[in-house]
């Protein structure tokens, strides 16, 4: 029987990041991956927008407007929900890791993740947008230094392709982009170069728990003995969690995306509007996203979704009207009730770790997630407090019917292999 210190389940950007950072610390890692249709890594635009995402730009403001149009206004809300400070700090710290990470991954794995300093522009079309943007600018959670108010003239000079039918824009410096597929590939390649073993196209069938401890991970073909399993299965994470008897409140949240044909460089920033976001990637295509829909594991695209995104994109960049669509697809974000990821150990099973629930910021938050998990697993001091992201912050855990033959062991403390982080 094979054995490994750590088995990481899920080969999306999070699983690959965990494998990379763990391998970098000299841990013996096996990454098990069964690529699923609609995995979020493949449906990401690759935006690294810690500020934008924290204050509700990107998909948040699109979803808020869609809800308003349906007559659903969240109580007491005058704009999309802002995420807590802990999220912003986490995202800012993760984002700051990218320049070094880019070099590391290039050296270790040989792949370029195409990090580009774009900044994020929030386009202000009307009074409501302005009312939303003013306080963001005045009370930007990380100070005025990173944000900048552009007049229509300034915007036209900075981004000539953007519509002139705007009241201005709010620029967030430091909100940049990468190529999301290359990022996952680069983590994977670097992890392998550091000795991690990859089991691609392999479905995990069971996680064996004995006396409250993880002892093995099973696939159709084999059993891999291990002390630690990391659940990085994205929208499918609850299926893995159920194998150790826990109920993980992660739901697939579909996002539809349009990719255009290859275009010359027309956009130097990423754009966020109340209709859509737009990011031109290094190969010239513009990615237009995204819807926010709870439709289970359906990865289809819809007429209304495509139509809304296309109209929103043309509103922001009028020349897109004549541009051809290359492809429309959809991905399943792993959503959680409070939109924060679920990280770290759990009470009931020793050796089980979550690294999931990254909703729409898995690309951005992958470096710090990977680093934190590697620190947890090797008993090193943590670079960021884990508490706000533990599963226990959410609803009290309800044990579900177990698939393995051992009963759950509640109230057992989650002693980490090499010592509990403080």
């Amino acid at each position: 029987m094979k054995s490994s210190d750590i088995v990481v389940v899920g080969g999306g950007v999070i699983g690959c990041a965990v494998a990379y950072y763990a391998a970098k610390r000299g841990l013996q890692v096996t990454l098990i991956d069964q690529p699923k249709r609609g995995r979020a890594t493949s449906a990401s635009a690759g935006g690294l927008w810690p500020l934008g995402e924290s204050i509700g730009l990107g998909c948040g403001v699109i979803f808020y407007k869609a809800q308003l149009a349906k007559g659903i206004v969240p109580e007491g809300a005058d704009g999309p929900a802002q995420l807590p400070r802990s999220f912003l700090d986490f995202a800012m710290q993760s984002n700051a890791m990218f320049p070094t990470l880019t070099e590391e991954l290039r050296e270790t794995g040989g792949l370029d993740i195409e990090l580009e300093r774009t900044s994020l522009l929030y386009l202000i079309y009307d009074e409501a947008d302005e009312a939303f943007a003013r306080p963001l600018w005045r009370n930007c959670p990380c100070g005025r230094s990173l944000s900048e108010w552009l007049t229509p003239e300034e915007l036209a000079r900075a981004e000539p392709a953007v519509t002139r039918n705007v009241r201005g824009a709010l620029r967030f410096n430091g909100d940049d982009q990468v190529n999301p597929y290359r990022l996952a590939d680069a983590y994977r390649a670097a992890a392998r170069a550091l000795g991690a073993e990859l089991l691609p196209y392999t479905e995990v069938t069971n996680v064996r728990v004995e006396k409250g401890r993880v002892v093995a991970v099973e696939t159709a073909a084999q059993r891999i003995r291990c002390d630690v399993v990391v659940n990085a299965a994205g929208a499918w994470a609850p299926q893995i969690a159920r194998m150790v008897g826990i109920d993980l409140p992660v739901q697939p949240v579909r996002g539809q995306i349009i990719g255009t044909e290859t275009l010359p460089d027309v956009l130097s920033s990423c754009l966020s509007t109340t209709d859509c976001y737009l990011a031109q990637k290094r190969h010239g295509e513009i990615i237009i996203g995204s819807t926010t829909e709870e439709v289970g594991f359906d990865v289809g695209v819809t007429r209304s979704g495509i139509k809304t995104l296309a109209a929103g994109a043309i509103r922001a960049l009028p020349f897109l009207k004549q541009v051809n669509v290359k492809r429309v697809w959809a991905g399943l974000r792993p959503g959680t009730p409070d939109e924060l990821p679920v990280l770290g150990p759990i009470e009931s099973v020793t050796g089980y770790y979550n690294a999931c629930g990254h909703f729409r910021t898995g690309i951005l938050n992958s470096p710090l997630t990977g680093l934190l998990l590697a620190e947890l697993l090797s008993g090193a001091p943590l670079s960021f407090p884990i508490e706000p992201f533990l599963l226990s912050r959410l609803a009290p855990m309800v044990p579900v019917e177990r698939l393995s033959n051992h009963p759950p062991q509640p109230n057992r403390s989650h002693a980490v292999a090499n010592g509990e982080p403080s």
């Binding site: 690529p35 249709r37 995995r39 493949s42 597929y181 990859l198 089991l199 691609p200 196209y201 392999t202 349009i258 255009t260 044909e261 289809g300 695209v301 007429r303 209304s304 495509i306 139509k307 296309a310 109209a311 994109a313 043309i314 897109l320 009207k321 004549q322 541009v323 051809n324 669509v325 290359k326 492809r327 429309v328 697809w329």
Partner: protein, 486 residues
């Protein structure tokens, strides 16, 4: 118009025949095609800018197309013609998303006949993406609709009748054809003649093509094919040679090179099944007729009630089969709509069902002759591009298989193959069988790439303006009234 009792998608031989029979029985229908004129690829209409002085010079396919168009014109009061209209997608409840230039909309069809035709199969070989290498259909289109000579000196390679037809057409526009390379074997053996007995048109067609080459002194080499196209910015030379008669593996030590500026390749056709897939029809893999095809009843109905499939889109068997199938589908749709009694529908279908039987007897022999053999896989080298849209080379596909990819979907996720605008339409038919052989799995296990709306190129402007049913807008007949007569 956002609702129609019958929508026929595809205005080639099958679609026109279906419209004729439906209309003859009294069923109104809409006939959609993306081209400006009707006739499909084979019976393509000559653009109006050209005047036809001598119809006989255009060949018998043109005359057959004219005859079908004339028959359709007799029923024009019941057939709404929608040329220049692209179908982007449809749903199992028969809602069709169409686009024309900057407009798009949705039609709901009570019944649907899919006559989507076929596209040319890509066989990747070193140099196949060089300018100057083109498909038989591409060359034909340059000649037929644009009156352009595609090159000065050419080699034509492939299998089946199309390379012969194109070689003759090239000759008429003044291209020197160095050789025609047929991968299959000589067809003039007794079994073929016996099977083809009575189907004079097919026999005579084949004989005419052959005679044309003979008269022009163009050598026709059986069990030969193209190995490599060479050149810097475009084709300057081509390497070709014999292949094993049983496996079609290239025999490289007997290769020869000639200088040409044009390589025309025609390895048969692949049915366009994106729409039958989106409609939710069951499909099966039939290598001889081009790969994945919808499962049908003898009345041409698919496994989705009210959705019919006819012609090359349901299995490549040529225009004559397509016409018979289209007629059968049109009659059955009219029967379903209550316009024909069961007995009358049966009576009307009978001659076409008999004709199909006779035609399929001959086709079976032709199919066997030009059935693609696995040796063609050996033409590509690791550097050869397989997916042109995303520029994925064979080596990347091999790496994915090496790492455990066992089906097309997995290879797609790994390499981005098939993520371009053709949605794998070009690369999947070549690489699917390759994955089968590399992994020892069946086509069913290797699967397909799932199509998604939009299945054809469309602008963001058209999508943004897409009119929904009930919007009170989005009549596909708008702005084309001048072109209604085919």
């Amino acid at each position: 118009m956002t609702r129609s009792p019958l929508v026929i998608i595809g205005g080639g031989p099958a679609g026109m025949a279906a419209a004729i029979e439906a209309a003859r029985a009294g069923l109104s229908c809409a006939l959609i095609d993306e081209a400006p004129g009707f006739g499909g690829q084979i019976y393509r209409q000559i653009p109006e800018a050209f005047s036809v002085r001598d119809a006989s010079a255009l060949g018998k396919d043109y005359r057959r197309g004219e005859a079908l168009r004339a028959e359709l014109r007799e029923h024009s009061e019941r057939v709404t013609i929608l040329p220049h209209t692209t179908v982007l997608g449809l749903s199992p409840d028969r809602e069709i998303v169409w686009a024309r230039e900057e407009t798009a909309g949705v039609i709901r069809a009570d019944q649907l006949i899919l006559a989507t035709g076929a596209h040319e199969r890509s066989v990747p070989f070193p140099g196949w993406t060089l300018p100057g290498v083109m498909t038989a259909g591409g060359a034909q289109r340059l000649i037929k609709t644009m009156q352009v000579r595609p090159g000065r000196r050419a080699v034509v390679a492939g299998t089946g009748p199309l390379p012969l037809v194109v070689a003759n057409q090239l000759r008429t526009v003044g291209t020197e054809v160095v050789a025609v390379l047929e991968a299959g074997r000589h067809p003039w053996w007794p079994r073929f003649l016996v099977r083809a007995w009575g189907e004079w048109s097919i026999l005579k067609d084949a004989f005419d093509y052959w005679l044309g080459l003979r008269r022009a002194g163009i050598p026709l080499r059986f069990n030969h094919t193209v190995f490599q196209a060479r050149g810097n910015s475009s084709v300057e030379a081509v390497t070709y040679g014999p292949i094993d008669p049983a496996t079609w593996s290239p025999i490289r030590e007997r290769a020869q090179q000639v200088e040409v500026d044009l390589v025309v390749v025609g390895f048969g056709l692949v049915p366009n099944v994106e729409l039958t897939q989106l409609a939710g029809c069951d499909h099966r893999y039939v290598h001889e007729v081009g790969g994945w095809v919808p499962v049908r009843t003898p009345q041409m109905e698919t496994t989705v009630s009210g959705v019919f499939a006819a012609g090359d889109g349901a299995g490549v068997r040529g225009a004559l089969v397509a016409i018979a199938e289209g007629r059968i589908a049109g009659i059955t749709a009219a029967e379903r709509a209550g316009l024909l009694s069961q007995a009358e529908a049966h009576r009307r279908r009978a001659p076409f069902i008999a004709r199909l039987k006779a035609l399929l007897r001959v086709r079976a022999v032709l199919d066997e002759m030009s059935r693609l053999r696995p040796g063609l896989d050996e033409l590509a080298t690791p550097e050869t591009i397989i997916c042109r849209c995303e520029e994925v080379a064979l080596a990347e596909v091999e790496a994915a298989i090496e790492q455990g990819a066992r089906d097309l979907q997995a290879v797609k996720l790994f390499t981005r193959l098939g993520m371009g605008s053709c949605q794998g339409g070009n690369c999947a038919p070549a690489i699917g069988p390759y994955i089968c052989r590399a992994t020892g799995r069946t086509p069913e296990q290797v699967g397909r790439i799932n199509p998604r709306l939009p299945v054809k190129p469309v602008t963001l402007g058209a999508l943004a303006g897409m009119a929904e049913i009930g919007d009170g807008a989005g009549d596909p007949r708008g702005a084309i009234s001048g072109e209604l007569v085919p």
